[in-house]
């Protein structure tokens, strides 16, 4: 990299705010996906002004810029695909304002998702989007990817909770979008920028809604002898118009993986379990939990367990939140997929997934947000075996095409990033993509910000390469 740029960055941020030695950069070549890309340097801004200056420098030296939170993303969104500067927001991790009365908070992008909920817990509020990686992932990352989570089934994903933000455009211009008050006049720029995967701006402040914690919660674990019974149960719950706070499904492979690691008390040997939260007023929760349990039994669940207290509930959820880590113990390299289908197609899709797995020689594990049809097939593979890696990628592509055939989409919460850019044309026409590219170019005209993401490039499949298994750890889930 240009030594003058490095010098200027160090002058701006201090030497502790810039990493450029190869061994220091290693960590930033990865995120939670199977992609790898090496940055030229990594910088750690302290405030919005730093970010503005970094952007100006990047412009002057025509160097790409990539924003990054905790690096838990699963689509390569925070990787410097074309090299350049990775801007890590870990030093911008302050909760700037909590307005309990109006149920708002303004945070810097580096605030860890769960930390915000912990910071306001004493007020009876929380930040509702809860990605499984919420102990590590940042709100800035959530905003970039429009992250979901188990409880977004009832509460909505990140975009439903963001009211406004301060952004630095790739030109270095500082702009405030939206506001703490609702219904900011004009085009919904906040809605456009949330989920734009870091391709339109670097976000430096975010104003979010805080949500009241429910008065009562009941957690149910329903055990099934067949996957079809489990998927039919989920479909029936949806059909009856019940919206549980969360509705998660595990198949037998993931039950074993999780139980070996977390000891959450999941029944090893069951074909599937469905983990369901219902919450709200005490009076509503009682009857809703009963109705859900009845539906499970109607679909032949031999056992429906209801957590008796908070400790039991937490244990059941610990199994879910640590599932990806559990899988990592069995297979240090695995491909965590993300696809969405209509909820009525769960059974047929899972059968297709098993067939695709068999075709490519994998046993595909499934642990996913069943209630909103958001699948997360896991393909375990040997990272040292290039052929196996290629087969895993091919199986993944087929799985995503299957989701599209079912009337679904190619990503429900992980983002397109550099993982699925080549799959975009399966879902969007040339004119759809051209207009979306136009949106990117309107704000990011020189392509300085997060280049090579979302939109199909002429990438050959061989560009994705497996890292040696010894270097890989399980992505934080």
């Amino acid at each position: 990299m240009d030594s003058r740029l490095l010098h200027e960055l160090k002058k701006l941020l201090g030497s502790e705010g810039v990493l450029h030695e190869p061994e220091d950069l290693l960590l930033y070549e990865y995120d939670g996906s199977v992609e790898v890309a090496k940055p030229a340097c990594v910088v750690f801004p302290r405030n919005t002004e730093d970010v503005v200056e970094i952007v100006k420098l990047a412009n002057r030296y025509e160097t790409p810029l990539v924003g990054r939170g905790a690096g838990t993303g699963l689509s390569g969104g925070a990787l410097a695909r074309q090299g350049g500067i990775v801007v890590v927001f870990s030093r911008m991790n302050r909760v700037l304002e909590v307005d309990v009365e109006n149920q708002r908070a303004t945070v810097q992008p580096g605030v860890v998702n769960l930390d915000l909920s912990i910071a306001v817990a004493h007020t009876g509020l929380h930040f509702a989007p809860d990605p499984s990686s919420q102990k590590a992932c940042t709100i800035g990352g959530n905003v970039s990817e429009n992250s979901g989570g188990p409880h977004t089934l009832a509460y909505g994903v990140t975009t439903n909770h963001v009211l406004g933000m301060t952004v630095v455009l790739p030109t270095g211009e500082l702009v405030r979008l939206g506001s703490a008050a609702v219904d900011s006049p004009g085009y919904d720029l906040t809605g456009l920028f949330v989920g734009s995967e870091g391709t339109l701006a670097l976000v430096t402040e975010i104003t979010v809604k805080l949500t009241r914690l429910p008065e009562a919660v009941k957690t149910l674990l329903a055990v099934f002898d067949t996957v079809d019974d489990a998927t039919e149960t989920v479909a029936e719950i949806t059909r009856r118009g019940i919206t549980p706070a969360a509705c998660e499904m595990f198949d037998s492979w993931t039950i074993r993986a999780v139980e070996d690691y977390v000891h959450a008390g999941y029944p090893v040997g069951a074909a599937a379990v469905v983990l369901i939260d219902v919450d709200g007023l005490r009076e509503a929760v009682e009857s809703e939990a009963e109705e859900v349990a009845d539906i499970c039994r109607l679909h032949h669940a031999p056992e429906v367990r209801v957590a008796r207290d908070a400790a039991e509930r937490d244990l059941l959820w610990k199994g879910r939140k640590n599932a990806f880590g559990a899988v990592g113990r069995i297979s240090p390299t695995y491909y965590a997929m993300d696809g969405v289908i209509p909820r009525t197609k769960l059974a047929v899709t899972l059968r297709r997934l098993a067939e695709i797995g068999a075709k490519y020689g994998f046993e595909i594990g499934n642990i996913f947000h069943a209630g909103d049809g958001n699948l997360h097939p896991l393909i375990p593979f040997n990272g040292r075996d290039r052929d196996e890696f290629r087969r895993a990628i091919a199986a993944g592509t087929e799985i995503i095409r299957c989701c599209i055939e079912m009337g679904g989409a190619i990503t429900g919460e992980h983002g397109v990033g550099m993982e699925k850019d080549h799959l975009m044309p399966y879902l969007f026409s040339a004119s759809d993509l051209e207009l979306m590219r136009g949106v990117r170019d309107a704000f990011n005209p020189s392509g300085l910000l997060n280049p090579g993401k979302i939109f199909p490039t002429a990438k050959a499949c061989g560009e994705i390469y497996a890292r040696p298994a010894a270097e890989m750890s399980a992505p934080p889930a």
Binding site: D99, E101, N102, G148, G156, V157, T159, N160, V175, R176, A180, A181, V182, D183, P185, G186, Y187, D188, L189, G191, L192, G195, S196, R212, E215, T238, R240, G241, L281, E283, A284, E286, V340, P342, R343, T344, D372, G373, N374, G407, A409, I410, T411, G412, H414, V416, M424, L427, F428, S429, S431, D432, L433, E434, L435, M436, V439, R440, A442, F443
Partner: protein
């Protein structure tokens, strides 16, 4: 070839009008188009817009034409694009609670389709009897039900639209969770057709509530009524709607004009003519509703509530329809009704209401206000005439309201006013720092200013 004959070659002669009496129905702020065309497909829409862009003609899409007076007058208006023939339910999967419709479908007709499956779209919007889905989404009118369900941006899953260049594009999809590509459809919501013409809208639907119950309490001041709003917000209760009405609002909702616009039995007497009213609607099973009633009565008494009425679903309906139709009722209640819409933090609502009332009263203008608990206020000035002197007082009052609202951290626009006053009112509010970004989008989606030019923020 003349414009009408070219339009006829696209949509068929029976779907093109260029005779002047019929054109009057498509006037916007006194501007009359040269032709009306009623396309029968999204392909026709694309072809018409492409033709207009080439010929430098301006097109304004409309549905039932109930809200065309919102925003600014179009800078140019040659062709009215009547979308009412695009009125099909394209896809409805009740078991998946997802829906795809063409924009011209009347909201009421769609509601009937959904009700067969005990579902609905929680859009209790003004002009409910006539409005189309497309008009509702394009105008961005809000609904009291947003307290529980959010606004359209929270349940529109995807869209197909035709840009100002006549290019058909889409974003989102028809699944309830999706982060594939940019959410361009969010830009279309409330854009008054200035970025393109919607040709298909996908929604997530919701189960109809099992049962509902309404609660109405009256208070000596807005402050007390709002105090109850705050207490509810910090309680475990989850109302589907919370609204606060000024005595002036109650008066017009109880009047003859209201009875004409929202006929039927009037439960609106429960709104106090002398005091402020808080109305809260809850849904759920009987146990839940009993609990809400009990808690609310206690909270209401603590906040100084002076009367407390419980409404059954049968009584709620007429009261709700009067509140829902507040905007058309207000517009018909004065020869020069001017409605300021404000978005403010809930705890600032009291100050904002007080300051707006001062501005109105200083300028001797009668007023009425209806506010949503989430922080939205419709503050209506109801002048007695349209004279120039009155216009000046309305300008003074609205300027003051806009500045003071901004000073209190809120935003304000003037969506409705007499057409001839629009050029002297700050229709889209005070200047904004993000207007340049919006201009970039307008330039991208509609480079030649073909669709609804000039109606939006900053004259976009």
């Amino acid at each position: 070839m003349t414009a009408p004959s070219r339009l006829a070659s696209i949509s068929g002669p029976s779907h093109v009008v260029s005779e002047s009496p019929e054109l009057g129905a498509y006037e916007i702020c006194g501007k009359r188009p040269a032709a009306v065309v009623r396309p029968g497909s999204s392909e026709e829409v694309a072809e018409i817009v492409k033709f207009a862009a080439t010929e430098k003609l301006a097109v304004v899409p409309s549905g039932a034409r109930t809200k065309l007076s919102m925003g600014l007058a179009p800078r140019q208006y040659d062709v009215a694009l009547d979308m009412t023939r695009l009125d099909r339910v394209v896809a409805y999967d009740p078991a998946d609670l997802t829906l795809g419709v063409e924009p011209g479908i009347p909201l009421q007709r769609l509601a009937a389709v959904l009700a067969e499956h005990k579902q609905w779209l929680p859009l209790a919007v003004p002009y409910m009897e006539r409005t189309t889905v497309g008009g509702t989404i394009a105008s961005g009118v809000d609904t009291p039900l947003r307290r529980m369900y959010g606004t359209a941006r929270d349940y529109v899953l995807g869209m197909e639209f035709v840009t100002g260049q006549g290019v058909t594009a889409k974003s989102g999809g028809r699944v309830v969770k999706n982060v594939t590509g940019y959410d361009m459809h969010k830009l279309m919501i409330g854009a008054l057709g200035t970025l393109g013409v919607m040709t298909k809208i996908n929604f997530r639907t919701f189960p109809l509530p099992v049962d509902t119950r309404g609660f109405v309490a009256s208070f000596a001041s807005a402050e007390r009524a709002l105090e109850l709003r705050h207490v509810i917000a910090h309680s475990p209760l989850r109302p589907q709607a919370v609204e606060i009405l000024s005595s002036g609002a109650a008066r017009i909702l109880r009047g003859d004009v209201a009875a004409r616009i929202a006929p039927g039995p009037s439960a609106s007497e429960v709104f106090s003519k002398v005091h402020w009213t808080l109305a809260a609607d809850f849904s759920g099973n009987e146990k839940v509703l009993d609990r809400c009633e009990r808690d609310l009565r206690q909270m209401g008494e603590k906040c100084g509530g002076e009367s407390f009425v419980v409404l059954s679903p049968d009584q709620m309906l007429p009261a709700a329809s009067r509140k829902r139709e507040f905007i058309p009722i207000a517009l018909a209640s004065s020869p020069a009704a001017t409605i300021v819409k404000m978005g403010v933090l809930p705890t600032r609502m009291n100050e904002v209401l007080a300051s707006a009332a001062r501005a109105a009263e200083t300028n001797s203008l009668p007023w009425a206000a209806i506010a949503r608990g989430v922080g939205v206020i419709y503050f209506t000035l109801l002048p007695k005439d349209r004279s120039d002197e009155t216009r000046l007082r309305v300008i003074q009052a609205t300027d003051q309201i806009l500045f003071e609202c901004a000073g209190l951290g809120g935003n304000a626009t003037i969506p409705w006013s007499p057409a001839e006053w629009k050029s002297s009112l700050k229709v889209w509010g005070l200047e904004r720092g993000d207007l340049d970004l919006m201009r970039k989008l307008k330039t991208l989606f509609d480079p030649s200013g073909t669709v609804s030019p000039g109606r939006f923020v900053g004259g976009l």
